[in-house]
């Protein structure tokens, strides 16, 4: 956790619950987990108590490769939140993971204007609390 500019607040940390605790515990260990249905094989995020495809309750968490492709992206240039204002401009993206589901995240480490739809990305983790690290992405060059 890096030092913050004056007036800025830390990033928003997720609050794990019964269905997301495994996912966020994984991030602390540097693992990106996705939920897999043992009946139909569908992989999904966020964690649920049933499969959205076949509605089976037989689900387990598996480790994803952490690689994916940017499906869409925007550059946030206005956000009044003290947790984010100092980060502007920054990229919010939808990432299609090679291992299945789509997730929202940030793409970091590259100037925002240089991040494009279709770019390959890989996961990197930023600790935000004792309970979670945020799975962010870097360009996979």
């Amino acid at each position: 956790m890096t030092e913050l500019p004056e007036g800025a607040k830390p990033r928003v940390a997720p609050i794990p619950d019964a269905e997301s605790e495994a996912f966020w515990s994984g991030t602390l260990a540097g693992k990106l987990l996705v939920q897999e249905c043992s009946v139909c094989g569908q992989r999904q995020l966020y964690g649920r108590s049933l499969c959205t495809n076949c509605h089976s309750a037989s689900l387990s968490w598996i480790e994803a490769s952490g690689r994916g492709t940017i499906y869409s992206r925007t550059i946030i240039r206005q956000n009044p939140s003290r947790s984010f204002k100092h980060l502007i401009p920054f990229v919010v993206a939808l990432i299609d993971l090679d291992d299945g589901p789509r997730m929202m995240s940030n793409v970091v480490g590259t100037p925002a204007e240089d991040v494009h739809i279709g770019d390959r990305v890989r996961v990197t983790f930023e600790p935000v609390s004792d309970a979670a690290a945020l799975p962010m992405f870097e360009l996979d060059t």
């Binding site: 997720p14 966020y46 869409s72 206005q78 919010v92 929202m104 739809i117 279709g118």
Partner: protein, 362 residues
């Protein structure tokens, strides 16, 4: 067959002297007066708000004890859904006069959390999936717009044409590719309508708008990461179904009232309703096609982009559609408007509800 017998708005866009409940009251009283129906005849009530038992609170505030109550909330499309439900209830004879109201003073009460930014919901439960990345309300729609541009070559100029052809197209970027003028205004405002039976409407002071068909659908809740196809909205489901129920085709539609939270919302809705093929929305809106005197008059009251957007704008779409069908559109009246299509969009492109209204009974 149920009809809309009365409609009204408050004197938006700013009500610093009113509470939210007071805005509802003014809209309600004016809609009943417009219909020529007294408060005593109201036996059904519906409204959507952000807190549970919202409609119950309004009944207490109004002094109403209706036998039919609805507070279904699908976000910005709520009021199209409430009209659909009310029409079913009136058609079954379970209520005779359903009052539906909306009110908001979000501009007067605006705090830091509102506006084009906003920090979103608490990062717990499903909401955590999209809530921890600093994304904004505009950002969600920007993700849809960016993918549409990527897949179909849609340009920012084409989106700006939706905003208003005369506007300066060079407003600053808020969340790429959406500029400030791609976003709706923020205002106060209230609006209401009265749904009753065609029989009851026969001796009222104004011609009613007939509810010819209605349908609604959803694709996801508020996490845009959960939208199966970010460029395919619920309108693709609700639009054709509402048209089928009404027994009319797109070619019959004289005037459109489409929820315009952002320009991309209108573009996607036009495609999904079937006015043009997927990906052709950008070219479709060029050349002033949506102008009030153009071939497909859309949002003749200025819409949420230019008129008012108090948070959930769906009722204003209904009011303007009824006014057009009655010939009350004043300077922006669409000549010979007999069929109106109203489409509300709620959440983050999450829900859609379509109403087909007509100046004549089917």
């Amino acid at each position: 067959m149920a009809v809309i017998a009365g409609v009204a708005t408050t004197d938006y866009p700013h009500h610093p002297e009113l509470t939210e409940l007071g805005v509802h009251a003014i809209a309600a009283d004016r809609a009943l007066a417009d219909a020529g129906i007294s408060w005593d005849e109201v036996d059904g009530y519906a409204s959507a708000g952000f807190f549970p038992m919202h409609a119950v609170q309004l009944c207490e505030y109004f002094g109403l004890k209706p036998s039919y109550l609805d507070e279904t909330n699908t976000g910005g499309s709520s009021f199209e859904v409430l009209v659909e439900h009310a029409a079913h209830v009136v058609d079954r004879g379970h209520a005779e006069v359903v009052l539906i109201t909306y009110g908001s003073v979000q501009l007067s009460q605006m705090g830091r959390r509102l506006g084009t930014g906003g920090s979103g919901p608490p990062p717990v439960g499903p909401a955590a999936a999209d809530a921890v990345w600093g994304n904004t309300l505009v950002g969600n729609y920007a993700l849809a717009a960016a993918r549409h541009q990527h897949d179909y070559g849609t340009t920012s100029e084409q989106l700006a044409e939706i905003a208003v052809t005369m506007r300066d197209h060079a407003s600053r970027l808020v969340a790429d590719p959406l500029h400030m003028l791609d976003c709706c205004v923020i205002s106060d405002g209230g609006a209401a309508c009265v749904v009753t039976s065609n029989e009851r409407a026969r001796d009222l002071r104004k011609a009613p708008a007939h509810i010819l068909g209605a349908a609604h659908a959803l694709t996801h809740h508020l996490n845009i990461s959960q939208m199966p196809d970010i460029n395919l909205t619920a309108a693709a489901q609700s639009g054709p179904l509402a048209l089928k129920r009404a027994g009319v085709s797109l070619a019959d539609v004289d005037v459109l009232q489409l929820y315009d939270s952002f320009t991309i919302t209108v573009l996607l809705t036009l495609e999904d309703l079937g006015f043009c093929a997927k990906g052709e929305g950008g070219a479709f809106v060029e050349g002033g096609r949506l102008r009030w005197d153009g071939p497909l008059p859309t949002n003749t009251d200025g819409g949420g982009l230019s008129s008012c957007h108090p948070g959930m704008r769906g009722m204003f779409l209904i009011v303007e559609a009824v006014r057009q069908l009655r010939g009350e559109g004043t300077a922006r009246q669409v000549a010979g408007a007999e069929i109106a299509l109203v489409h509300g969009t709620g959440g983050m492109l999450s829900t859609g509800a379509t109403l087909i209204l007509g100046s004549h009974a089917p």
